[in-house]
Amino acid sequence: MGSSTVIANLARNLHELDQDVLVIDLKSNNLLRLHFNMDWCNPNGWALNVINDQPWFNAGFKCEFGISFMPFGRITYENKQCLFNEKIENNWLSNQLSMANFSDKKWIILNVESELNNLSIQALNYADKIIRVIEPQATCLGQFYDSIQSNYLSNNPSLHDKCLYLINKMMPLSELDHEMSLVFKSLIPNQLIPVKIHFDENIKEAFAQKTTVNIYAPNSGTAKQFRTLATWLMLHFSHKGAA
């Protein structure tokens, strides 16, 4: 639920806090790159490289503010089938990432597809922390109780324990949203990140400008919330994570 936006903003803020950040987009909608001002027409991405049998890490980009990110790449439906069914074997992700031999201090943020597939399951297992982005709404609560993803996580104690929950797109004017966030708070008191991200026009506008909100409107409410979120994460876990 808006995870690309959250990740882009989070990465930007971690970077501003002098952290070494690498963002990898594992989502096939390939939207994360747009937050970092990548050209609309540029089809490059790690998935495309894998399809074309090129080294996947050649698809790394650096945005003008210095954040390293790796877009998914523009691929066709057939390519996607091929990617998930043939190219990506078991433990592909962990093998690749350990081969790259990143420093322990580096934040590797994976933008994981909400739908469970070969790749996202690898990502979830590989990650040190999983941040699930939720919206304070009844639909989301329903999914929280009963959905393939939730069941998969709760059946897997090791995964369940490393889950964190982040409330996103909270409507400040909606009484129900406030109530609902309290409901989440009472359901998962220890796993809910105490920072809430509000629904803010500035975020939409920032995305339309192909940037993140702390660049577009540094004094906006959400920019501050993302700053707080980044600081909170830095305080609690000073290494790797995934969303």
């Binding site: 004017l173 406030h178 309290l182 105490p194 803010d200 500035n202 409107a217 540094p218 004094n219 906006s220």
Partner: protein, 875 residues
């Protein structure tokens, strides 16, 4: 040919350029327009324009292109007191003086020797002060070591310590010390030794230095008093004897209060909170009473809502509005928010009766009482109730009364948050001191009482007009204990005007005098000696009116009627009296630190002296006379005015002292030579009195009070939501019932006046949103007014602001520790201000000459040259 030649060389030779301009006039007028724009900040008048044109022409003729802007700017910078656009006829003179000054004195070349000489004097001065300073510094270090040693040996000595034997020895030594008469030189040595000890010890922190300062002060004061009693009572004539005895009595009273005061505040307990059991089922039930009579309903509403916000199990807390005014609006409000409403048909025994009536209709184990204008924070019960569970005999917990608006002293003297207010001493030091002796008493509000002991003594005491202190006294007599927790857990509005403040104090002093008469704490059963002393001090304190008046007119006894009230040589008086005064100041300043600055008590007492003198005396003889009056709060003072009615007694005392001064001058020139020093002392005393009275006068000058809703300073991050859906983070600087003041972090987003917005404030896990409207925009600072809040939102707003448990915690951190000398200067300033105020009230016919004189001085001052700092001329 010539023209092109000129064009090429024009810039090098100004005169040629001039010719060049004649041919190119549009260029000149263009330059002139640019010059005008640079040179004048305002619209120029003819005179300024003319001057500017001369400057322009001179610049064009004699100044190189590249330097013109610099010269233009520096002319302005060098003449800060001249408005170049609007020159007046005297400005040329000002310029002349200014430029002469800059060329001669400020550049300092011709006067180097003089400056060096000045430095020489400065060096001598610092050398002299070092002579005093270095021994003191050395002594300070030495005492530090000695103190550490004493404390170490006191801690390590756990053997059998028999205080009684030491006490007797100390008592005998003290007796010797106080009673042996000294001649002048021995007294001089004695006094200086004491002074050096005190000065070297006052920079150390701790209990021991405090006690030493107290003992030094007591020694000197008692010595003074003994000397006064044995050597200085004048029995030459009946007038002398009477005046002399009156003064001695007043001094004796002051000494007694000093002694009791030291006893009371020497060891403030500074009780911490005691935590409640984890199981909330063990927490007792509490009733919250909000008694009101005729106060503004808005204030009552805020307090009630804040009381609902108090964190306590919902089934164990009940809130009641006790309305003695039988107001339907209040009843409707109570029903709307589901709190109890209790009213009665009569108003017997005022507030005490009101509470007693409610006690019979309710059954909580504890009663919490908030005056209707004391807004509690949410942690009120949780920070206090723990002590009840720990101490079975505890019947009363009092917390400080805190005021978020300036009291009349603070407002009229303009020292809100700069100087600790009158209340601060009592709630910051005295009650904490009382607590050590189990004598902290009830102050009528922001307190919790246990129901069963209260029922045992027959409810709130109603025999006097200060029901609170009397109730506590009765509880203590039954053997119950009391506690004081010095954590601000509620805040209210201070009295608005000086007359209201005086009215309140008259009630307190009358009530205390009544208790002193009908239920004297020194007599009767059940109290410990320490409790008796604390209560006695609290009550005797209010009898200070007459002694204060005596001190205010004492110098007149000599100056006017020529009575020798202190029968001793001047030098001796100085050697006995001054050390006693200085040491009591040092000790009090050490103990009261940031709760009362030196000398301010003088003004507070001088303001009240006349008004409490009569009621206390009357109440002492006829305790039943007088009624209960409610302290009026929460109003506006629309126009500045001088409260003549209130200040009549001060004016009378001032005129007496002025007459005394005139006599003094007369005696100085016409009296016998051996009286000169006496005259000087008494004149200085009278001048000091005049300063203090001047302070009283400036308090009576009521300044404007424009806001009905007081703005309370905070620093909290909030979020604003524009109608468009944009969120903006901002900082809340202050809030009130009706709105808030906000500071934006940048000017990227602009707001329009009357724009509708939403304000998001978060508290703990929850976030609250309030509809609001922009009331004012001033660059980054915007004023926001809350718009049509629902009852629920109103409650939440109070929860986010007034109810915050840390709402008032940082309040007293602002104050520095007392600095006696600068505090004295403040008093002098305040005193002078009083006389400036007075001149405004004198008929215009007399003052007009003064005003003219002052205007003339002001004009003269404008000719005075200004120093220009080099860096300001840089471009």
């Amino acid at each position: 040919m010539i023209l092109t030649d000129l064009l090429q060389r024009g810039s090098k030779y100004p005169l040629h350029q001039f010719v060049y301009w004649i041919f190119l006039q549009p260029q000149v007028s263009q330059d002139w327009l640019v010059f005008k724009k640079n040179y004048f900040h305002q619209k120029p008048e003819t005179s300024g324009m003319l001057f500017g044109f001369i400057v322009f022409v001179l610049l064009q003729l004699y100044c190189h292109d590249s330097k013109r802007l610099f010269v233009t700017k520096s002319i302005q910078k060098n003449l800060p007191h001249v408005q170049l656009a609007k020159l007046t006829f005297a400005d040329p003179l000002r310029m002349l003086i200014q430029f002469t000054w800059l060329a001669s004195i400020q550049s300092a070349t011709p006067y180097k020797d003089l400056l060096a000489n000045l430095n020489f004097f400065k060096n001598i001065f610092s050398a002299v002060s070092n002579v005093f300073f270095y021994p003191l510094k050395f002594l300070t270090e030495l005492t530090g070591e000695v103190l550490a040693n004493i404390e170490f040996s006191a801690n390590s000595n756990d053997g059998d310590f028999k205080p009684h034997i030491y006490l007797i020895i100390i008592f005998l030594l003290a007796l010797v010390c106080l009673t042996i008469p000294f001649n002048i030189s021995s007294q001089l040595v004695f006094v200086f030794l004491m002074w050096f000890v005190a000065m070297s010890i006052r920079t150390h922190n701790g209990y021991l230095p405090k006690l030493i300062l107290v003992i030094l002060s007591l020694t000197l004061s008692s010595r003074y008093l003994f000397w006064r009693a044995t050597a200085t009572i004048n029995t030459d004539s009946s007038v002398d004897t009477v005046t002399s005895l009156i003064l001695f009595t007043a001094e004796f009273y002051t000494w007694l209060i000093l002694l009791l005061g030291y006893f009371q505040i020497a060891g403030p307990l500074q009780r911490k909170t005691y935590s409640l059991p984890n199981d909330t089922n063990l927490w007792p039930t509490v009733d919250i009473f909000i008694p009101t009579y005729n106060e503004d309903i808005g204030i009552v509403k805020t307090t009630t809502i804040a009381a609902i916000n108090i964190d306590w199990p919902k089934d164990k807390i009940k809130i009641y509005i006790l309305d003695d005014g039988n107001r339907h609006a209040l009843q409707d409000f109570a029903n709307e928010i589901h709190v109890g409403y209790i009213s009665r048909t009569n108003n017997i025994h005022a507030k005490a009766g009101n509470i007693n009536n409610a006690m019979q209709l309710t059954e909580g184990e504890y009663l919490t009482i908030f005056d209707c204008d004391h807004i509690p924070v949410r942690s009120f019960l949780q920070t206090t109730m723990g002590w009840f569970i720990r101490d079975e005999k505890l019947a009363l917990i009092q917390t400080p009364h805190h005021f978020y608006s300036p009291d009349p002293f603070e407002r009229n003297l303009n020292n809100f948050k700069k100087t600790p207010n009158e209340n601060s001493l009592f709630y910051g030091v005295v009650q904490d001191g009382n607590d050590l002796w189990n004598a902290a008493f009830f102050c009528g509000s922001c307190a919790i009482l246990k129901r069963s002991p209260l029922t045992e003594i027959g409810g709130i005491a109603h025999e006097t007009v200060t029901e609170d202190a009397h109730t506590a006294l009765k509880l203590h007599r039954k053997g119950y204990t009391s506690a004081y927790i010095n954590i601000i857990q509620a805040a209210g509005q201070a009295t608005e005007s000086l007359s209201a403040h005086i009215g309140q104090r008259i009630r307190w002093s009358r009530g205390m005098a009544q208790i002193f008469r009908i239920d004297n704490p020194l007599l009767g059963k059940g109290l410990k000696i320490s409790q008796r002393l604390c209560y006695a001090n609290a009550m005797l304190h209010f009898f200070g009116g007459i002694p204060r008046l005596i001190f205010l007119i004492a110098p007149l006894a000599f100056l006017i009627i020529h009575a020798y009230i202190i029968h001793a040589p001047t030098v001796e008086i100085l050697l006995y009296a001054l050390p006693a005064i200085i040491h009591s100041n040092l000790a009090n300043s050490y103990m009261q630190g940031k709760h009362r600055y030196s000398f301010w008590s003088e003004i507070y007492e001088a303001v009240l002296a006349w008004y409490i003198a009569v009621p206390t005396t009357v109440a002492l003889f006829k305790p039943k006379v007088g009624t209960f009056n409610v302290t009026a709060k929460g109003g506006l003072i629309k126009d500045e005015f001088f409260d003549l009615t209130v200040s009549k007694p001060y004016l009378m005392l001032i005129s007496l002292n002025v007459i005394g001064l005139i006599f003094g001058v007369y005696r100085f020139f016409n009296g016998p030579d051996d009286e000169l020093s006496t005259v000087i002392i008494n004149v200085i005393w009278a001048i000091y009195n005049l300063l203090v009275l001047g302070g009283a006068i400036s308090v009576a000058q009521e300044t404007k009070q424009l806001r009905l809703h007081h703005r309370i300073d905070v620093k909290t991050d909030i979020t604003l939501r524009k109608k468009s859906g944009h969120l903006l983070s901002a900082k809340m600087n202050n809030f009130s019932d009706a709105g808030l003041g906000v500071q934006l972090y940048s000017d990227e987003v602009s707001f329009d006046k009357n724009e509708s917005i939403h304000v998001l404030i978060s508290r703990g896990d929850r976030e609250y949103i309030f509809p609001a409207r922009i009331a004012s925009v001033n660059k980054l600072y915007i004023g926001i007014i809350l718009d049509n809040l629902t009852a629920n939102q109103k409650q939440n707003f109070i929860k986010c602001n007034y109810s915050r448990s840390d709402a008032w915690s940082a309040w007293e951190d602002n104050f520095d520790v007392d600095k006696p000398l600068s505090s004295f200067l403040d008093i002098v300033t305040v005193g002078f201000k009083g006389y400036v105020v007075l001149t405004r009230s004198i008929p215009r016919k007399i003052t007009k000459y003064f005003i003219k004189g002052r205007t003339f001085l002001f004009i003269l001052k404008t000719f005075y040259p200004r120093n220009i700092h080099a860096d300001t001329i840089n471009l």
